[in-house]
Amino acid sequence: MTPPGGLRAALVVARFGLRESLRRRVFVVVALLTLAFLVLYGLATWQAFEATDDFDGVGTAGVEPDVVVGATLAGLAMFAILFLGTILAVFLTLGAVRGDAERGLLQPLLVRPLPRRVLLLGRWLGAVAVCAPYVILVALAAFVITWALGGWWPDRLAGPLLALALGVAILAALSLAGSILLAATANGIAVFMLFGAGLTAGLLGQIAEAIGSDSLDRVAAVATWALPFEALYQAGLSELTADTVGFTRLAIDLGPFGGAESGGPLLWLWALAYLALVGVVAVAAFARRDL
């Protein structure tokens, strides 16, 4: 009798978690709600491009209205998708350790030759296997809708999609780590407050850009890097219009989703290191916990 190795055991746990989501019809509910979101997004996109048709050639001063509208709508969609992905990530992990231990679900598993770090890895992989494809597919659907109704397509595709995927992977890790110390409800609240803090930091950056405040910009930058899912979202936003220039660029920057920082390759490295750091802290905290 040979117990499975680390990754294989983690995959067993992840598969079991996925099967639970399927059996509980989590995906049916998510699919229906997402469909509703995409329909609403489609209606809004159709109306927005209808409205911009009136601008054509009338006082647009070199600004391409369809590009401004398309990029702004796609930015809005990315924000909504990150939020939906966060909800999914949080609800799949918020009670993974303390919640399951209090209900007596965890102990029978950990009595098997299943190291605690492997259980955490399995639960994280299970959540990411749902959330990352979800945000990628829904963002792709939103981009396709924007293209079909208004003819606009992101300047770069991979960056925004990967940024969303890594963002929800970080949020799933934070929620999983929180579940070691906090009861499920408290953990859910804590993760959504972190999400809100990231959002606030992003808005702060836009205000700093609008009023030209360097110090405020630095505060916003530090805050978004401390919560890298927000920095990744900003990077994804900037990639949407990375090749757009001129007055159209200026018009986008003045909008609610303009002026985002790209972060560069360092951001991606930092995001991965941050993920590893959350993992190390979670494993250490879990190892010390009596069940």
Binding site: M1, T2, P3, P4, A9, V12, F16, R19, E20, R23, R24, R103, G104, L105, Q107, P108, L109, L110, V111, R112, P113, L114, P115, R288, D290, L291
Partner: protein, 277 residues
Amino acid sequence: MTPALTVHGLRKAYGSTQALRGVDLEVGEGELVGLLGPNGAGKSTLVKITCGLVRPTAGAVSVCGSPAGSGAAHAALGYLAELFRFPDWCTADELLGLHQQLSGSAGGAAERAALLDLVELGHVPDRRVGEMSKGMQQRLGIAQALVGAPRLLLLDEPTSALDPTGRRTVRALLERLRDRGVSVLLNSHLLSEVELVCDHVAIIDHGEVVSAGTPAALVRAGGVEVETAAGTRTFTEARREDAPRIVRELVAAGEDVYAVRVLTSSLEDVYLEAVGA
């Protein structure tokens, strides 16, 4: 032969509360040991430390020669918690399948079917846990603990939700396991059950083992009671071997003897005395 479980000088403190104060215990190969004690005595803490779920403050626990909490120790034991729960959405067969995968058991469908038969759930392999009664879930829990043929079985109140028939089934199962050489540490409040099946008993109170031994050794002689024409006479200091002499003397003294009873204290008496109740 390496004992299935060795506990030496085990201590556990939760803040200022001492749950275990230096427990020593041994469960031999194929031995069935009952752990008795009032609520909060430290029984579940002892079992959880053995399972690697709780870290000891001091002392050593080894399972089949491997330190508790190690991969080898986990591989050698099966456990049913007092307050357990299984995912209500999965079936009995799926639950056992998960534990087979995690323990590395190659028993496949045959092992799952045999275990479900063993706990008399062979007719409902596809029934969801959420649709089972508490007693059925407890029997499923025992089957789960037996996945991978563990050498040491730790059962924390395994019959608390069972009816008398279910308890008898579990008793018979425990005896069969002992015959196969499986060691069992049975944590139970049901003294009669422990007395019936256990080879050894340890009574634990306030985190210490206050009495231990075989059930026969623990129950003491309580005198000899003789029913005569003049009424019932009790010889409190007498033992079983004294009964023929007492009867001879009474008959020689002209008394008519109708019945003789050798009195012994029950395990319940021993338990109540040991825990100071």
